[in-house]
């Protein structure tokens, strides 16, 4: 008796339902994401199966190869025209493969790659028990200063899990700006946030602060994602769908009307409140005022390589998502959201710049600077023109490398307690170590938007787009806050070059090739995008069209 026959003794076939069609997944087009997640899984396996000694190199190899391959895939996709002519929404409407998505994915992958270099650094901290150590806790779960930790250090434990965590975060970030429906957006958000929460908690030094940062980031992140989700629910309630194109059609009034739809679209409050709440979720991630307060604390507490990665990549991903939301889903109601975003942008620029003036910790300073920069980028977002998109794309690329580089430099300046992030310790750095100080000065000048650095080109691009989009007042506020911002960047330069070094001041550790490469890439990109931005502007231009 065949199995089926036996089976049929006590079962009967249900009336044949309609065949559920297998989802059509364009694996090649999603390959960047898949490669990264694949690499992350491999990383977990490495963690599980490789002996402790070889994990470090194994993880680095997996991460670097994974990210490089993913980047190659992005380039290949772009070369085959997926950024322009063949742009479309893949994976059953879940993920867009278009210019902005590919551009931002490429940026995130490069940022991730450089971040891997800084994660891999093992020469800065003094050797513990004869072993080189990195910036991460020996054992994340051990109580700081407790016996378990001491034992872990002695045993030479290292948290090589950070590499897969980074890869998972990168994977989420790749999807985030490409997400083409709200559910994917939410899932991607969580996928990249959760590893970041963990990474924040893993600092080797100052673990209380690190854990506190993680806790704050986690609670506030979860809080904000709840808002985001509720906003998604409202939008879903309004449009009856969570796909971007579907909502856009409803907003524009081109969707096919059903009675249910007629009932809900009668209530614009659903749309407006939903929009506001979703926007809030994204603004939280980009660090816009008044949703910025996590930024300084988390940036300060997290291990500096993580801060660099987070500051650069999160911003890219979140702005990508925000752009897509505003340009694809909500252009029909831009008269509603533009004034509100104006307010947010102005507030963000000014608060970021003003509060930074009195900061005394270099990491917090950079955090507030990142807030001000979020304001500048928002000015470009608000333009609602093709130029607006491409200028934001360019800015993000330029900004992320400056940020990575700057935080990488922060890891170099150390004293007995680890990194010496208090600004007073930076006095006279230019005398002790002219090269490091000069490099940091280049990054600061780029942040300040001095010509011939990428910061200037980026700032010019977004302001130009804003002006052409009719937001001249924003440009003026932007210029004003740039002036305020310039003050504190210069303050740091003064400190480094014109103050006498303190006798017991920190030393500049000589980094290994990893960090050197990371910093070198940062400087190179900063200058290249400052002097010869045209190629990248072209790229951003070509990538400036969303698919819906």
């Amino acid at each position: 008796m065949s199995g089926t026959a036996v089976h049929s003794l006590w079962t009967m076939a249900a009336p044949a339902a309609d065949k559920i069609p297998a989802p059509k997944i364009e694996y090649t087009q999603l390959s960047p994401v898949l490669i990264v997640f694949g690499a992350a899984v491999v990383g977990i396996l490495v963690e599980a199966f490789l002996p402790r000694k070889s994990r470090y190199l194994g993880q680095i190899a997996v991460s670097v190869i994974g990210l490089a391959a993913a980047f190659a895939a992005v380039v290949a996709l772009a070369a085959r025209g997926y950024g322009t002519t063949k742009a479309h929404v893949a994976a059953m409407g879940a993920v867009a493969v278009d210019g902005p998505a590919l551009f931002l994915q490429g940026t995130i992958l490069l940022v991730g790659l450089v971040a891997v270099f800084t994660f891999a650094e093992r020469r800065l901290d003094p050797k513990a028990h004869g072993r080189k150590v990195d910036s991460f806790a020996a054992q994340g779960s051990a109580v700081p200063g407790g016996d378990a930790e001491k034992a872990a250090v002695k045993a030479g434990f290292t948290t090589t899990e950070v590499f897969p965590l980074l890869l998972f975060a990168v994977g989420g970030m790749l999807i985030f700006p490409a997400a083409s429906d709200l559910l994917t957006l939410f899932v991607a958000l969580e996928v990249f946030s959760l590893p970041l929460y963990l990474l924040c908690a893993l600092a080797r030094r100052r673990r209380f602060m690190s854990q506190e940062a993680a806790m704050k980031y986690f609670l506030l992140g979860a809080f904000s994602s709840a808002f985001l989700l509720f906003g998604i629910a409202l939008l879903y309630g309004y449009a009856g769908t969570v796909s971007y194109s579907g909502i856009a059609a409803v907003v524009d009034g081109t969707a096919k009307m059903t009675p249910a739809l007629a009932a809900t679209t009668g209530n614009d409050a659903l749309l407006l409140i939903g929009t506001a709440m979703v926007a809030m979720g994204l603004l939280f991630k980009v660090g816009a005022v008044p949703f910025h307060m996590w930024t300084p604390d988390v940036y300060q507490g997290a291990p500096t390589p993580v801060t660099g990665f987070m500051a650069a990549a999160t911003k890219v991903a979140a702005f990508g998502a925000l752009l897509r939301l505003l340009y694809v889903v909500l252009p029909g109601m831009r008269w509603d959201w533009r004034p509100v975003m104006w307010g947010v942008a102005i507030l963000t620029m000014l608060v970021g710049a003003i509060v930074a003036v009195t900061q005394t910790d270099v990491k917090r300073l950079l955090a507030y600077s990142s807030i001000a920069h979020a304001g500048f980028i928002l000015a470009g977002v608000i333009a609602t023109t093709p130029d607006g998109v491409s200028s934001v794309l360019f800015y993000l690329a330029a900004y992320s490398f400056v940020t990575l580089g700057a935080f990488a430099v922060v890891t170099l300046v150390r004293d007995a307690g680890g990194e010496a992030t208090h600004l007073s310790h930076w006095a006279g750095l230019g005398r002790r170590s002219p090269l490091v100080a000069a490099v940091f000065a280049v990054f600061l000048l780029a942040f300040a938007g001095i010509p011939l650095t990428s910061g200037f080109a980026g700032k010019f691009a977004v302001f130009k787009a804003a002006a052409q989009g009719g937001a001249m007042p924003l440009v003026i506020v932007g210029v004003l806050s740039s002036a305020i911002a310039a003050f504190f960047y210069i303050r740091v330069i003064v400190l480094m070059f014109f103050s006498e070094p303190k006798p017991d001041g920190p030393t500049v550790a000589v980094p290994s090739a990893w960090t050197s490469t990371a910093i070198g890439i940062g400087v190179a990109v900063t200058l290249a995008l400052g002097v010869m931005p045209q190629y990248f502007l072209d790229l951003a231009d070509k990538a400036g069209v969303f698919v819906r």
């Binding site: 806790m215 704050k216 609670l219 506030l220 809080f223 904000s224 808002f227 614009d268 409050a269 407006l272 409140i273 929009t275 506001a276 709440m277 926007a279 809030m280 939280f284 005022v289 008044p290 949703f291 307060m293 996590w294 300084p296 604390d297 008269w335 509603d336 959201w337 004034p339 509100v340 307010g343 947010v344 608060v351 003003i354 509060v355 930074a356 003036v357 009195t358 900061q359 305020i484 003050f487």
Partner: protein, 631 residues
Amino acid sequence: MENLIGLLVAVPLLGAAILLTGGRRLDRIGHWLGTILAAVSFGIGAVLFFDMLGKSGEDRAMYSHLFSWVPVGGFQADIGFQLDQLSMTFVLLISGVGTLIHIYSIGYMEHDERRRRFFGYLNLFVAAMLLLVIADNYFLLYVGWEGVGLASYLLIGFWQNKPSAATAAKKAFLVNRVGDVGLSIAIMLMFTTFGTFSFQPVLAHAGDASEGKLTAIGLMLLLAACGKSAQVPLQSWLGDAMEGPTPVSALIHAATMVTAGVYLITRSGAIFNGAPDAQVAVVTVGAVTLLFGAIVGCAKDDIKKALAGSTMSQIGYMIMAAGLGPIGYVFAIMHLVTHGFFKAGLFLGAGSVMHGMNDEVDMRKYGGLRTYMPVTFITFGLGYLAIIGFPGLSGFFSKDKIIEAAFAKGGTEGWILGGAALLGAAITAFYMTRVMLMTFFGEKRWEADAEGHEPHPHESPKSMTIPMIVLAFGSVFAGGLFSLNSSFLKWLEPVTGHEEGHSPLSATTVTAGTMVVLVIGVALAWLMYGRRAVPAVAPRGSLLTRAARRDLLQDDFNHVVLVRGGEHLTRSLVYLDHSLVDGAVNGTAAGVGGLSGRMRKLQNGYVRSYAVSMLGGTAVLIAATLLMRAV
């Protein structure tokens, strides 16, 4: 011949350049080089003069255009020269007296280690002064004008280690600068009125311009003249300028530079002729100054300062004459030339006295010097007679003519001016007699100084006495020569024009009056300083005397109003610049900093308060979005 004109300036200028940049190796020959070059310049002047004499009156002017200097749109300034009879007169006076004073200085400055530089400055002065008088446009004249100011500055402050000399030099330059502003405004006015500032077109078309414009130009020129010629109200620098070496006082502050104002007004006669109001201003300034200077001259015990007051006063005469218009121009210049001789001679004499008296300048410490330095006494005496207008000597002719012309102005104005001129003549006689008596007559009053050095008065070396003798000849004969056959009048008339005035008094009456006041002045002086012994310490004196000693309080006025006021002004501006202008910016920065400090407090570290701000932000976001739709 025209090509030689430029050399007049070039030769001494070259001398200045060589002497000032040549360094120590020229120390031994520097003074000779300077003197020779000045003499060469005089020689060139003489050649040109004889060439000029060979031509008829109207054709005597020579022109030489070198190159275009500042061509900008309608503004076309050229380096060009114009040598006519007026210029020629000055050229000869400047280079002639200049050469003499070079010679004199060889002896006078013998022991000064910086003698080479002194000669360099002298050459520079001669060059600038010659440029002033041969320029063919006001703009180039301006260069000479400031050039002599510079030379004057350098020479007054030649003994720079003396703070008083340095201060005096600075003061002279500054006061002159005020006058210079007048000249520059005059040039600008000419440019906007005539489109040019060359003598020929401006003066030829002066009649076409409105009287208002001409008056404005005239007043500005007068301001310039006041500065350079030490006329009230810009006279204060001249007394202090006596800090300079005495040859400088003789050349610059008596014979030549200070007369530049007279030259300027005479040169611009066509402008003043069309601007009666400006002329009134000129004669007023002249009359006031001639009395002012004379009064100051009476009270000074410093021989050079007394002479400086006299210079001021005599130039007052000239300015007044020039202000009279065509009836006075020629006599202004004539007095200028004779004054050049006798005043230079007087100063050289004073220098000779000082040379013999350990550089003592206080006349109360002189007395009875006629026996110790006979040559000085005689030449000085001749100069004295000339200046007070002793009949037959130079001053007699020139001053008399001016007094006549003043009366000839006619009307009340004529009486006032004539009266002032006569009064001035009396005072001149008084103060010059006083100088003469205190210096050369009476008992010796000098004593050993604090270090026990008693002066041993002695006659000066030949290099000093010869120029004095030459000048004395000029003081004696120049006036007569010029008046002979009205030769000077005929010489200058083609340039300045001349009119006979309608004097209410006959020439004889005026001359007689002049003689009377002269005698009164001399007699009064003799009564006060000849018959009685001169106290070695100045008596307190009357209010007027004390005021006159202080230059009639003009310096005090300047000090209180300009110096003090200026100090307060600058000090308060420095304060305001720091507190207000800078403070506004710093205040903004501090404001941002304060705001930052306050906003920072919101970041209180409590995760729950962060959540509150997020919730509040969301609420605002929602409300704003809804509101936008509602609006």
